[in-house]
Symmetry: C2
Subunit: 200 residues, 2 copies
Amino acid sequence: MASKAPPIDRRRQILDAAIRVFARQGFHSTRVADIADEAGVAYGLVYHYFKSKDEVLNELFSARWSLLLTAIEETDREGTSPRAKLEAVAGFIVDSYRRDPELMKVIIVEVTRAANSFGRTHLPEIRRAYDSIAKIVADGQAAGAFRGDIDPTFVSMSFYGAIEQLLSGWIFEVIPASDADFDQARSLVVATICDGLEPR
Amino acid sequence: MASKAPPIDRRRQILDAAIRVFARQGFHSTRVADIADEAGVAYGLVYHYFKSKDEVLNELFSARWSLLLTAIEETDREGTSPRAKLEAVAGFIVDSYRRDPELMKVIIVEVTRAANSFGRTHLPEIRRAYDSIAKIVADGQAAGAFRGDIDPTFVSMSFYGAIEQLLSGWIFEVIPASDADFDQARSLVVATICDGLEPR
DNA sequence: AAACCGATTGACTGGTCAGTCAGCCAGCGA
DNA sequence: TCGCTGGCTGACTGACCAGTCAATCGGTTT
């Protein structure tokens, strides 16, 4: 038997368990013991791989958020229209939720929207996303593709806020979350922001 | 001396102290002792007026939120244009923040955006606001003032999400919060949503 | 002046957890 | 076969804090 069983990645196993438990109970009401149980691992092992309960959440957030930042910045580098760029950003976020709703729920509920606790810690990273979106808008304005009388920062916040609110709606079942809804959301947010509600 | 000193409203005194402390430290990291200290009152008195620490926050939220609901519904009843209605709603929320930023910070950070904890409890009230906004949009569509191909619920969530994100930006000093910014925000959010970003 | 009563006080309790640590065990090299 | 190493275990501890309650206070009624 030349092949040895691949060593179990305990760290990953604990992170995955944490996603499930955090998504189910929220960060504050999950005990470290819950994570260990869910991972099928001893209590102490969590502390072998992580400095603290906080570090587990920080790790989950930072890993995923850096993907988002990369995606936005890469999108921006491509030579498409500003509108197409916004559509790509909205699409990336919506798809992230479609692919891994539990992780996105944790990130949004426990970090992004928890500006008092973990959001504070990660403000610089979060702000980078706002800034990148604002840059797309500003470039669009400079190129004449967008009207110039609205502060790009305002647009960036509104745009991101709108998407996050939709995700929150799905997460907490305020609005239906079918595959069709996901597809619609991407274009509808962009249509609203770019074309406006009033008929042309 | 016919006039007797007006009896101190301890309940109010404790609520006001709670706003300050919750705004400063966040709900989870304020001890009941902090509220009592801030109010200049004995620890036990908080429990004389409130069943629990949670009840203090619930009270703060419900009192303020019902004002918002009333304002939205009254706005809707007036015979103005759908666009003017949206502008009034945005204006009311922004003005609430301008007048009492600490209370609005608490409401948004600890309830509205804390969908896992207090947001859950107050979901029905929060949802009523979304519904009222959606109704304004739907009526606007029926009257031909708004394009009909976007789900009013989506618009409602996007609209509210955009405003809340701006408030969050002010609260956490991600974007500047001058009086001029407040005035701009109201019309810019509505301009974005109604007219769109792209030039006409 | 004595009984009464609601407001007010703050020491205390019971329960909860995050994080520690002393030791166990499986595999490996000597 | 015998350490040795490091992943792994889970009982334990120390800190923290919401909520309780018995006692006190100040005003009012009888």
